[in-house]
């Protein structure tokens, strides 16, 4: 009986430890005063956190990641909103096939996506590194955009558009006047999900990064291969807090979890 009572709390404890543990270790390591990345941390200092801001490649790759996350997400939404609308409102021939193709980047392993983009698009067509990254990130975010926006459209009755038309609005006007305002929450959620997905993306970016152009996670891996100091831990901790902050704000103001 005793063993049974302990089984659930112990399992729960282990799950939490595996989920949160690495994060706590990273956060602790980033406050280390020592010279190498180690746990338990040796002493306490903020020097590695301060150092993050002085490494030039971190700064460049951070802005590249930011550009890809925001630009890629916006592009995915511009493609994804009309696609979701068409998929949910019209009985398109092959709608299921289109849905599957659109979600493919989630299902196919990132390494394969990266390699195929490199082998069949970037190399033969001489696509620039930044453009290649931008296209890849847009494609990776698109499934999330379509899925979240579709869910939000699914909750919205379609007859309100007809009601708007009968009150004098054009079809297109009805989309902007009564559809868009009602799926705003879904669009914001898709934006945040896309942003976080893109920002944390490694495998695809790894293949497409080139001289002088890297995303932040790729740059962090490259950095660690040369320097093994706690600044990478400090940067990871900062990024983790940034993501948590974004999701917290999103949940607070938009009810993020309703759409994901």
């Amino acid at each position: 009986m005793m063993a049974r009572n302990l089984f659930i709390p112990i399992t729960l404890g282990l799950v939490i430890a595996f989920l949160i543990g690495p994060f706590l270790i990273i956060v602790a390591a980033s406050f280390s005063a020592g010279e190498t990345l180690a746990f338990p941390p040796q002493g306490f200092s903020l020097r590695w956190i301060a150092k993050v801001f002085t490494v030039e490649s971190f700064r460049d790759s951070f802005f590249m990641s930011l550009f890809l996350a925001i630009g890629g997400t916006l592009a995915a939404l511009i493609l994804g909103i009309p696609a979701s609308y068409a998929l949910s409102r019209y009985k398109l021939p092959g709608a299921e096939t289109i849905r599957t193709i659109v979600s493919a980047p989630i299902i196919v392993p990132g390494i394969i996506v990266g390699l195929s983009l490199l082998r069949y698009i970037v190399v033969p067509f001489q696509v620039g590194i930044t453009l290649a990254l931008f296209l890849a990130h847009t494609a990776l975010i698109l499934p999330y955009a379509v899925r979240v926006v579709s869910a939000s459209l699914g909750n919205l009755r379609s007859d309100i558009e007809e009601a708007a038309v009968l009150l004098g609005s054009s079809r297109l006007g009805a989309f902007f006047r009564v559809v868009l305002p009602n799926i705003r929450g879904g669009i914001m959620s898709a934006f945040i999900l896309g942003f976080v997905t893109s920002f944390n993306q490694v495998p695809v970016s790894l293949f497409l990064s080139g001289p002088g152009v890297r995303t932040l996670p790729v740059d962090m891996i490259a950095y660690m291969e040369i320097v093994f100091d706690p600044s990478v831990a400090a940067l990871s901790a900062l990024l983790a807090f940034m993501s948590i902050g974004i999701v917290f704000i999103a949940e607070r103001f938009l009810g993020f979890s309703r759409y994901v």
Binding site: E162, A163, L167, N182
Partner: protein, 341 residues
């Protein structure tokens, strides 16, 4: 154009892809009439209504409103209102903004817009709810917002899709009188779609009964209720004993049966259970089922004519299951059907 043919549908054929939903329909509706399209689901009543609204363009035929052929006029320029079954209120807008939506699109001057919107909201008794969102209102209140939103546009025709079916019994009475009030005050031509004969009978000036994409019968509520002209309509309004006539005799599962009295020239005859005379008459039947319905008692009889349903005053002595009873189907009382099947 006169007021008698304010809205006309001419040879209207409507289709969804290859499926023809309404075939060669002709109908004339007068100004200020309150017409019901009545029929079971799939009869084409909603499709016809959508074509009048302009949400569906006809495969062939014409829709004319107030002397103008509007067949090719798009839905947003017809000035036809539609109250949706689900109300279709805009969830992100307040009651006030829902009602103001159409007037804003028409660029109505601010002062006039405010006046008309407030009058519209007041007329449906929602003055205190102007700032609420639709989700904060009850179903009945939402429907009244939908009504105000359509009426504030002063439509030439107001279409209503199953206006009473989502409401409970009490609200149904409220809405019925609300619609009658609106119609009386504004004189707007109203067409409503329903599958409920009670709704159609109680609300409409004229009923158009539809079946499989065609009009089966048009008439006043009294006509439809008392003088159905086809077996379909008779069945729909509660004539449960329906027989086809052949050479002046009733066609039954067991062959032709003579019936007393002068038999009219008709395709068939129909009797409500209440019209069946029980206790005397030329026919015999055995009671197979009996049920008590407050004021009356209903019997199901096994007879040589097939099953017969009869309804008698509950004050009369009741009959046991299995009892043999004499009954009559009085020809004089029967509805004469011109069309059978």
């Amino acid at each position: 154009m006169s007021d008698q043919n304010f809205l006309t549908l001419e040879n209207l054929t409507l289709a969804y892809g290859d499926t023809v939903a309404v075939k060669d329909l002709n109908l004339t509706i007068g100004k200020g009439e309150l017409v019901a399209f009545l029929g079971p689901s799939g009869c084409g009543k909603t499709t016809t209504m959508r074509a009048i609204a302009g949400l569906l363009s006809p495969a062939s035929g014409h829709v004319k409103l107030d002397g103008v052929d509007i067949t090719r006029v798009s839905a947003n320029k017809r000035n036809v209102g539609l109250m949706f079954q689900s109300y279709a209120l805009f969830p992100h807008l307040s009651v006030y903004e829902n009602v103001a939506f159409g007037l804003r699109l028409k660029k109505t001057p601010a002062a006039e817009l405010d006046k008309r919107v407030r009058a519209g909201i007041t007329s449906v008794g929602l003055t205190d709810y102007a700032d609420r969102k639709p989700a904060e209102l009850s179903g009945g209140q939402q429907q009244r917002v939908a009504l105000a939103r359509s009426m504030v546009m002063e439509p030439k025709v107001l279409l209503l899709d199953e206006p009473l079916s989502n409401l409970d019994a009490r609200l149904r009475l409220d809405m019925r009188s609300e619609l009658q009030r609106v119609q009386k005050e504004t004189g707007v031509t109203m067409i409503f779609v329903t599958h409920d004969q009670g709704e159609a009978l109680s609300l409409a000036d004229r009923i158009v009964v539809m079946k499989r994409g065609a009009i089966e019968q048009i008439g006043s509520p009294e006509d439809i209720y008392n003088r159905p002209t086809s077996a379909f309509v008779a069945d729909f309004v509660g004539f449960e004993n329906i027989f086809e006539l052949s050479d002046g005799r009733l066609k039954t599962p067991k062959g032709l049966v003579e019936i007393s009295g002068p038999v009219p020239i008709a395709a068939g005859l129909a009797w409500r259970p209440r019209m069946v005379t029980l206790g005397s008459g030329p026919f015999q039947g055995a009671v197979r089922g009996a049920s008590f319905a407050g004021n009356s008692r209903e019997y199901l009889l096994d007879t040589p004519l097939g099953p017969i349903k009869a309804e008698v005053d509950a004050a009369l002595p009741s009959h046991e299951l299995g009892a043999e009873l004499a009954f009559d189907l009085p020809v004089a009382a029967a509805a004469q059907l011109r069309k059978f099947g």
